[in-house]
């Protein structure tokens, strides 16, 4: 009897707290939605003012500031929700990422006149993509917008379509994620004397700035030399080659040690460590050859790319046999992935003839993509899935938007390799 009373009392006291917690989160998420709608509206208004009355500089600035205020409010709420570790973080994360991308798109409108805004836009864009780094969920740019947005008489239902139309400049940059490690407070490096220099770049990317990089590098070094811990930060850099140089260390060969090579629309991880009296900056490689052996249970190929065995050294079959075996593995992976995606939303796959033709075309497109250099030079598997899906859509339903379910389907197939 006593136990019953205690349990009842506990439920009586705990339930309101739990409900209050839930409603509190709901209120915050509602607030985020409101701010997001305001951002979207402000972005549309900004377009009108920008294209209709270019002279009103102060008005444009006001719009930018309004968007920035909303974005910072949304990010603050997002941080609060992250810290309170609620379970359903997908919605707040999508809102936060979308708001950052809208601000990036606003910056891009202005960028042809103020080139440093390309860089600024990239930092927002990468910050948004960063939120999906360790997640298997569909990134927000590939999802439908809560409300379609009309820009220059075209209605966009997804951010990726809007970015492809209005923000292609973002793809000229690459993201470099940097980890500083093993630095000690006794190090005699003077971060204030560092310079970050571009020494080679394709002509098309020379107009873009990389002003923020040096400041970020210096502050990361200063922080690690004080705290003696590892430090993590990212840079948005136009495609090209760069290095860090010190004004106080007079060795013209040292920049080779601190050089980084950035390819457009890619995410790379770099590590900086001390080396003798200077530093070394090297990539953390993440590339893997597609592992057909692992992906297919009934694989009959040569074991090319077999994990850990390095069996790609022991090739025995000819190219045609290998290609056929690889294609059949992709086919199997596609068939099994179809069970996990709502395929009714992809073209007209209920029709058995279209379905079998789709399977052939999709497998071949995936096979061509993963054996090309592009497979190792994309942002992530989601980006590969987007590129492959675009190609498939061009063959099945040219001119129409790429179905999100198709992107998901291709992503699931790529995950197997």
């Amino acid at each position: 009897m006593k136990t019953h009373i205690i349990i009842s009392l506990f439920i009586f006291l705990a339930l309101p707290c739990f409900c209050f917690g839930q409603s509190h989160h709901k209120v915050l998420i509602n607030k985020m939605e409101e701010y997001e709608e305001d951002i979207q509206n402000t972005y549309s208004e900004y377009q009108k003012v920008y294209y209709e009355r270019k002279s009103s500089k102060s008005e444009l600035l006001a719009f930018e500031e309004i968007i920035s205020v909303y974005v910072s409010q949304i990010l603050e709420i997002y941080e609060t929700l992250t810290l309170s570790s609620i379970k359903m973080m997908e919605k707040p994360r999508d809102i936060a990422a979308r708001s950052l991308i809208f601000r990036a798109l606003t910056y891009l409108e202005k960028a042809p006149l103020n080139v440093e805004f390309y860089e600024k836009a990239c930092y927002d864009y990468y910050r948004a993509l960063d939120m999906y780094n360790e997640s298997e969920k569909v990134p927000v740019i590939l999802k439908s917008l809560p409300k379609p947005i009309r820009v220059a008489n075209i209605e966009y239902k997804r951010l990726i379509d809007l970015i492809e139309a209005k923000g292609k400049e973002l793809f000229s940059f690459g993201k470099v994620q940097i980890v500083l490690k093993s630095f000690k407070i006794t190090s005699n490096l003077n971060a204030e004397s560092f310079e970050f220099i571009r020494f080679s770049s394709p002509a098309r990317t020379r107009k873009y700035t990389y002003d923020e990089a040096e400041t970020r590098i210096k502050s990361a070094f200063n922080e690690i030399l004080i705290n003696n811990n590892s430090n993590n930060f990212f840079l948005a850099l136009p495609e090209g080659s760069y290095f860090i140089r010190s004004r106080t260390i007079d060795n013209p060969l040292f920049p080779y040690l601190s050089a980084i090579y950035v390819r457009a629309n890619q995410q790379q991880e770099y590590v900086i460590e001390p080396l003798v009296d200077w530093i070394i900056m090297y990539e953390n490689p993440t590339t893997k050859q597609p592992d057909f052996y692992k992906a297919g249970d009934s694989y009959s190929g040569n074991g090319h790319g077999n994990s850990n065995g390095g069996s790609s050294f022991f090739l025995s079959r000819n190219k045609d046999e290998d290609d056929a075996a690889n294609l059949s593995v992709i086919d199997d992976a596609l068939t099994s992935a179809m069970e996990n995606v709502d395929i009714n939303k992809i073209f007209n796959l209920r029709d058995p003839w279209i379905r079998s033709r789709f399977a052939n075309v999709a497998s071949q497109t995936i096979s061509i993509h993963i054996s090309s250099p592009h497979y190792f030079n994309t942002w992530s598997k989601w980006w590969d899935a987007w590129e492959i899906s675009k190609n498939i859509t061009d063959k099945f339903s040219p001119g129409n938007p790429v179905p999100t379910e198709l992107i998901q389907l291709v992503y699931l197939v790529l995950q197997k390799f």
Binding site: S241, L253, P255, Y261, E283, P285, H304, N308, S312
Partner: protein, 327 residues
């Protein structure tokens, strides 16, 4: 016309001596990196320890009281105390390997709590070890006496340290339980010798002899999964981005630096990420360890040698990544 020719020659000369920033650098700077093992006109730590090992034999009274002598050395840190700790640690580990016993205590923590240094009098330690028996293990007290702890300036580091220690079980009954005792004075020195040969082979671009020394053709014992797990001498495959079936061999040296075959540039020493300059990529699924001794004894190639090798091979690299279409 003659003036034009002179200008052309001067232009070519400037091109050949221009660094990545477009500035002209003195050729003498490059000369500094021509001979990595003798650039500083100092001796190696390996030679120093080998001389000590040949001259310093265990004293008779120690030998009579069941002590064994081992050596250790270190150069990895730029601090005498840290190197002293590492050197003594290596000598003690060698002793336990010789007696086939396992550490029971956290030896590094014990050494850090009372660090040995060449200039202090911390010369005796006592730890517990496990003697393996048929029906389990037996704890035994183990005595350590540091006889020499010397800081020297060598090619590897200006604060290299070598040490000579003697060790024994505190109680005779424990001594009697251990059947065989090896008399290896320092496996780490043997490893340093092998590593130096490998690094010299790379310096002279003798890639095939390096492959032989590392038994690359053998079945791997360990498959590291990330670059943090890589150790000196681990191998990897790099594949051509355009034709994935063409593969090249890479050997990891340390601090993100590795030696690799390339499609058009022969053997190069580069850092992770630079392989993309040659249109090849590392297959992270193919990290392999065929020679485990370097990882077992935590060997790390001297940073000064790695830096030198990297710079020596560095000046002829392409300056930017090839475009995706041209790969």
């Amino acid at each position: 016309m003659r003036f034009f020719n002179y200008m052309l020659i001067i232009g070519c000369f400037l091109c050949l001596n221009t660094d990545a920033t477009g500035q002209i650098f003195d050729k003498s700077i490059l000369k500094r990196y021509e001979e990595c093992w003798s650039a500083k006109k100092e001796i190696t730590l390996l030679d120093t320890v080998k001389v000590a090992m040949s001259k310093k034999k265990i004293e008779e009274h120690f030998r009579r009281h069941d002590f064994i002598q081992t050596f250790g050395c270190a150069y990895e840190e730029n601090d005498i105390q840290q190197n002293s700790i590492r050197a003594v640690y290596r000598a003690i580990i060698q002793s336990t390997r010789n007696r086939n016993v396992e550490l029971r205590d956290d030896l590094l923590a014990a050494l850090r709590a009372n660090p040995p240094r060449p200039d202090n009098l911390m010369r005796e330690y006592s730890i517990y070890v496990n003697i393996p028996l048929r029906n389990g293990v037996k704890a035994a007290r183990y005595e350590i006496k540091i006889l020499d702890l010397v800081a020297v300036s060598t090619i590897e580091s200006s604060v290299s340290v070598w040490t000579r220690i003697v060790t024994r079980f505190a109680y005779k009954e424990d001594f009697n339980k251990v059947k065989e005792t090896k008399q290896v004075e320092s496996e780490f020195v043997q490893v340093m010798q092998k590593a130096q040969e490998i690094l010299t082979a790379i310096e002279r671009k003798k890639f095939s002899s390096m492959k032989k020394m590392l038994s690359i053709g053998n079945v791997a014992d360990v498959y590291p999964e990330t670059i943090d797990e890589l150790s000196f001498g681990d191998s990897m495959h790099l594949f051509d981005e355009h034709n994935q079936k063409k593969t090249y061999l890479g050997i990891y040296l340390g601090k993100g630096i590795f030696a690799s075959e390339t499609p058009d540039h022969g053997v190069v020493v580069c850092k992770f990420g630079e392989e993309r300059l040659y249109g090849i990529r590392i297959d992270t699924n193919t990290f392999r360890r065929t020679t485990t001794i370097f990882a077992e004894l935590n060997y790390q190639a001297p940073e000064i040698i790695l830096q030198c090798l990297f710079i020596k091979f560095g000046t002829k690299k392409p300056q930017g990544l090839p475009s995706l279409d041209s790969i």
